[in-house]
């Protein structure tokens, strides 16, 4: 496990999350929390993967931690959806999703060995995109449940 690489990737992810926050017209006060959520999510996922946990379970843990970070850093200790959106999207399988769609478009024109290879790659990409999205949803639900149990109240704030 190379901590420096993990840290650099986490910083890039934080930058991605804050950029996404701006593109989603999140109020200015949510940009730093978006950065921190993106950073923490990626850091936790990479560290857990470094410890031998699978990508999907690491993503579950990262998404749950991300909710806790959002609740901790946002004023009034709520979890604004826009911060969560900005934080979790970099954890998603964007590359796998795009590759799957591109594969779907190419597969109709292939034959023989190439068709077999493309089919395997397509099903792998679809399953990766699906399981990662599911892992994110599960992690967010776990994080929300933890916060609700701790505070016994609603955490979804407006925006």
């Amino acid at each position: 496990m190379d901590l420096l690489i993990i840290l650099i990737n986490s910083l890039w992810t934080g930058l991605f999350a804050s950029g996404l926050g701006i593109l989603l017209t999140a109020p200015l006060r949510y940009i730093v929390p978006s950065f921190l959520c993106g950073f923490a999510g990626r850091l936790v996922r990479d560290v857990f993967m470094g410890w031998g946990m699978s990508l999907n379970w690491s993503t579950v843990v990262a998404a749950a931690v991300l909710v806790l970070v959002a609740v901790a850093v946002v004023r009034r200790h709520s979890a604004p959806p826009v911060v969560l959106v900005s934080g979790v999207l970099p954890l998603g399988a964007a590359t796998a999703m795009f590759n799957a769609i591109l594969g779907l478009m190419q597969i109709s024109s292939l034959k023989g060995e190439a068709l077999t290879e493309a089919s395997v790659a397509l099903s792998a990409n679809i399953s990766k995109a699906f399981t990662t999205s599911l892992a994110i949803a599960l992690g967010l639900a776990v994080g929300m449940t933890i916060v609700r149990l701790l505070r016994r109240e609603e955490v979804w704030e407006r925006v």
């Binding site: 650099i8 990737n9 890039w12 992810t13 930058l15 991605f16 804050s18 950029g19 996404l20 701006i22 593109l23 989603l24 017209t25 999140a26 109020p27 200015l28 990626r42 959806p81 826009v82 969560l84 959106v85 979790v88 999207l89 970099p90 964007a94 590359t95 999703m97 795009f98 590759n99 769609i101 591109l102 478009m105 190419q106 949803a137 639900a141 979804w156 407006r158 925006v159």
Partner: protein, 247 residues
């Protein structure tokens, strides 16, 4: 039915500016609470909302079109806050019309150049996260920045989302393809995906999932997710076209 009309005015701001259906419905109920009318319910869809209740002893239904859904979370947030204040009695219901006008006049919090910089930052970050080299970083910044600039121009002309996504996706992917063709980078997948990532329909996806979690809005949620999937497909078509043209 005037209270319902006013409540729909506020709730539709949430819906039209990127808020979830649950948030819009909550705002609708909050405003009605300010009017001391709790027995009215609304059925939400992506194309219209129907609210029914009793007025002057008769059952009445109000139908309102939702219209195009854009992203301005500042307005959505302000409308939700307004709903809460009305429910708490902090804002008089007579002031609702002027408040709605004020919120509708709110400009997005960031100007075109800040949005361009944000898109460039996102693209640069993703190019590095997905294993791109420094050449990929430079290409992604230019492709996403230029694409976002044209996107804001096209959005100002109130064009539909899908053609804007296709045109800007094509432009960004072509710029990325030219960069690859010139040999500035050797990491093609990282560049092509990073160059169009600023148009990923993330908010629609998450709103869709949020709506589905609250079972009452299941079909609206499914509609949002289908919309997001369609936009992803449009982006993939743009990448494939650019790849075929440039490479």
């Amino acid at each position: 039915m005037q209270p319902v009309e006013r409540a729909l005015d506020v709730a539709l701001i949430v819906m039209q500016n990127g808020g979830s259906t649950r948030m819009a419905d909550q705002t609708f109920k909050n405003v009605l609470k300010g009017y001391k009318k709790d027995e009215i319910s609304a059925a939400w869809r992506l194309d219209f909302v129907a609210a029914s209740g009793e007025a002057e002893g008769r059952s009445s239904t109000v139908l309102r079109p939702v219209g195009p859904i854009r992203i301005n979370l500042l307005r959505a947030s302000e409308a939700a806050v307004l709903g809460e204040r009305v429910a708490r009695g902090e804002v008089d219901t007579a002031a609702l019309v002027s408040e709605v006008e004020r919120i509708n006049a709110l400009a997005p919090p960031y100007n075109r150049w800040v949005m361009m910089a944000a898109a460039a930052c996102m693209a640069a970050a993703l190019s590095q996260i997905t294993g791109g080299d420094w050449g990929a970083l430079g290409i992604a910044i230019v492709a996403a920045g230029v694409g976002q600039f044209f996107r804001s121009l096209l959005q100002a002309m109130k064009l539909p989302v899908a053609p804007v996504t296709l045109v800007c996706g094509l432009l960004s992917a072509c710029i990325a393809g030219v960069g690859l063709r010139l040999g500035l980078s050797q990491t093609a997948p990282a560049i092509l995906i990073s160059s169009v990532i600023y148009m990923i329909p993330g908010l629609q996806l998450i709103n869709g999932f949020v709506d589905m979690v609250f079972h009452k809005y299941l079909f609206v949620g499914l509609g949002r997710i289908a919309n997001a999937a369609f936009l992803c497909l449009v982006l993939a078509v743009a990448i494939a076209l650019a790849y075929a043209v440039v490479m």
